[in-house]
Assembly symmetry: C2
Homo-oligomer: 179 residues x 2
């Protein structure tokens, strides 16, 4: 699959088959994530792969509430990958403060997407969740300061038989050339 | 090229050939970026492709100072892509505030990396710059509030003949299974 095809194949999957994910596939997703670029090559990320059913259910339950239910599908994913991040160095802290942009958030986005694109290449579905109770998940997984859960990725075999058409603004609406 | 190979091929290129980049290659990079996922499919991004030499030089000069010179190489890139972002909706604003994570930064990281991975597939080199004077670039390009330059991507044909070995922490140092 070339990259243009892969980008069309990757979609946010919110319904999974009741089928375990092979460890070697997860490892290749993590390897793709490992090789992601980051500000000053700081690699401000760690991954906790939660497969154990009881713990997984607890983590999944921290991604939704009675009021905000759109992540409820996480209960149904066979694998949850909790991605941790932190401000990795004085230079990144200083840069982030001066430029008012948390560089480690940009970096974790890049890295998480490497994971999800590799997942698509492996025939797996995934979805990046940004909405969850980071304190609750931090306690459940004993995550020490200054590391914090920054994203949760659901992973598994998609229960959908076809890829959805992507709804996006047109290219004309989002790019301009100054030549 | 499969994705594992592409990830190894993509590297931050800081030295470019004096050779223009074909418009159709830039378009395919933008198309890959366009199809990136984002929180609530909010697509909080726009791209300004700066090719005109005088303007490009001014933008490049806003990415370094006498004191912080590591982006000086931007002067040498035949194309600069200024990526704009903003907080796209009340729901993303509320979510970002409640969760203390600027979701649109995560989204722009994902989207920028789609661009750079497609660039690698096209045989192009790129580098994502996070350090620059956003106010200066905003003025140069007449960017209206609330949009802001959030990343600058340098693009061109690499002047290096070989891919560098990537220096990263080991997988053992960044992942844990709870099974």
């Amino acid at each position: 699959m070339n990259f243009s095809e892969l980008v069309k194949t990757r979609e946010s999957v919110r319904k999974y088959l009741d089928k375990p994910v092979e460890r070697e596939k997860i490892e290749r997703c993590l390897e793709a994530a490992r090789l992601a670029p980051s500000a000053h090559n700081s690699q401000p990320w760690e991954f906790i792969v939660v497969e154990e059913p009881l713990l997984r259910e607890k983590v999944a339950k921290a991604t939704f509430t009675e009021l905000v239910r759109f992540n409820r599908f996480a209960l149904n994913a066979p694998v949850l990958v909790v991605m941790l991040s932190w401000i990795p160095s004085l230079s990144v802290l200083t840069g982030s403060a001066l430029k008012k942009r948390r560089f480690n958030l940009i970096d974790t986005g890049i890295c998480a997407e490497h994971f999800c694109l590799q997942a698509a290449e492996e025939g797996l579905g995934s979805c990046i969740l940004g909405w969850f109770d980071a304190r609750k998940i931090g306690k459940l997984l004993n995550i020490p300061f200054p590391k914090k859960p920054v994203l949760v990725i659901t992973l598994g075999y998609s229960a959908h038989s076809a890829i959805r058409e992507k709804k996006r603004r047109s290219l004309d609406d989002m790019r301009k050339y100054l030549s």
